[in-house]
Assembly symmetry: C2
Homo-oligomer: 337 residues x 2
């Protein structure tokens, strides 16, 4: 092993492969992040190149601590696609060439360590469950609100991924049959209302169609409001820009509709809400999410028995969740083999 | 033991306590129903009287086979309310006095056998899972369409009931935010569209507000279309009564919206659909349910990997499920004690 670290016990790698950037981290068994490294994803270079960049980013994070990849017990890889049990990435719409792509085979070739793949939203929930706001929950739902909605369901210690390993698509339940068009092509998905992309539709309507004045028009001169930074939304909201306030409260309202349906169905003891929008405006928006959920959960007792709280791990959720997932899977494999 | 039966191994009792009638049955371990007995619920006589009638109905079913209650290893009781782990019935809106009512304490006093309570919709799904259309499924969702929508989720052998034992309220996810008022008081629940009660709203609108002609008007002279028998709906549908056809296809359409959301979230390998409406018109309506679900499930692969089929156990689903539940719980208890 390289230099002595402040970590506890074995070390694990966690990689968050996003559409625009890769974030790798070394974490100990208690979820302490010892070091991180970051690179642009450069998805246009294709699947294999991204895997290699992810491995190099992981190595750079290890080197910050004076470690090599050999010091990592296992590496978890969070990716914006479902991952099948054989380590194949099913389909990442934002990454060219990521369709039935042999993710784990490549990652293990590039890192020479045991690697485990997991959907990024699922990883985020799992991270919060093991190390963050969801610690101690039995049934934990997570919703991360950014450009889209990621998330997942952790049920009695395991992620629910569906029998074909493609489920827990939290943003794509129908909340408004026949309603606003979603990026997935369907009408009325939760994500079409309760994400930046959904909110952008309302902002564009108010500013462009209705001609309302808003500082958002200056903040996003190209009119592509889905790309607005959460920090800009925060500024506009705090300055009480009426269009921003209405749009964000609509987002919170619909997120509550989704949360209500999830509670009605699964009766979780905890729901964590995170992602860029809620990192910037959680305190402001959570009361609206909760009130909307309270008015729609049935029976109401289920609402009262569910804690709805902000996520805690921020940008580290996916990487830490991937690392925890790798630890969990590695333990299961070494136990049975 | 009384006379020799044709049953296999031990015998279990299953009781379906409904709002209007009680159906009790003796079943063997393979789900063969050896005998049944039926009584009116007479809910107006209060909680304890209904428990006693349920016990007497169970005894009558046993006596048909020349048995006594002592011949039953355990008895399962399906009731129209969540049942808490301590055997307390949380709240049955249709049964006066059933609020925090000590169901199992009373049932065990009246039967002198180990009794186990379970929500009736959950029991129906569990029955289909153990003995019916859902045999072999890993994640099974069930939806029973009648006056309301009952059902549940069987995940890897166990019912998901939520951490407060009140969840899996399949009919009360929101599919049309701000939409039609549901019996639960909320707007836009699945049940407000995809149940007889929901459908009745549309029929009443078409006949009373729009003045359309329909044989349903003769079939239900009091205008309370939610009380229409499924056999009458079948007749009207097969005679191609336009109002009946439109209303039932709308029901099927919305049921598909709900099914899509359930598949998107939980990725079951199987969904069973039953209840009076689908016992009468399953063949006619299933194509509309499936097409609606197919167009809304995300990713579409999840739809393709999910079998959507008709339930098989009909009126016996709840009783058989309750009996199977009793067997399962009894085995777990005698194992650990």
């Amino acid at each position: 092993m390289g230099k002595k670290t402040n970590g506890v016990g074995r070390l694990f790698g966690g990689i968050d492969v996003g559409g625009t950037k890769i974030l790798a981290m070394v974490a100990d068994e208690n979820g302490n992040v010892l070091s991180t490294a970051k690179k642009k994803t450069k998805g246009e270079q294709g699947f294999k190149a991204v895997c290699e960049r992810a491995a190099v980013t992981m190595l750079e994070a290890a080197e910050v601590e004076g470690l090599t990849l050999g010091d990592l017990t296992a590496i978890g890889v969070g990716v914006p696609t479902p991952v099948l049990p054989d380590g194949v990435a099913a389909y990442a719409p934002n990454l060219p060439g990521w369709k039935n792509a042999p993710l784990i085979k490549n990652m293990e070739a590039f890192t020479a360590r045991p690697c485990y793949g997991v959907n990024d939203g699922n990883a985020g929930v799992y991270g919060e469950y093991v190390f963050g706001a969801g610690k101690g929950a039995k049934t934990l739902l997570g919703l991360f609100v950014g450009t889209g909605i990621g998330g997942g369901v952790c049920y009695h210690g395991e992620l629910i991924v569906g029998e074909n390993h493609m489920a827990a698509e939290m943003g794509h339940i129908i909340v408004q049959e026949g309603g606003r068009k979603c990026g997935c092509g369907h009408l009325g998905c939760l994500e079409a209302y309760a994400s930046k992309t959904g909110m952008a539709r309302k902002i564009a309507w108010e500013i462009i169609q209705e001609g309302r004045e808003s500082i958002l028009a200056e903040m996003v001169p190209n009119g592509n409001y889905a790309t607005i930074k959460s920090s800009a939304l925060q500024e506009a909201y705090r300055k009480e820009d009426p269009v921003a306030v209405e749009a964000l409260r609509e987002l919170a309202h619909y997120l509550g509709v989704g949360v209500a349906s999830y509670i009605t169905l699964l009766g979780p003891d905890m729901v964590v809400i995170g992602g860029g929008v809620f990192e910037s405006l959680g305190k402001e928006l959570m009361p609206f999410v909760k009130e909307s959920a309270r008015r729609r959960t049935w029976p109401e007792a289920s609402y009262k028995d569910t804690k709805i709280i902000l996520a805690q791990l921020g940008d580290h959720a996916v990487g830490l969740g991937a690392a925890a997932h790798a630890k969990h899977r590695f333990a299961a494999e070494t136990k049975t083999s």
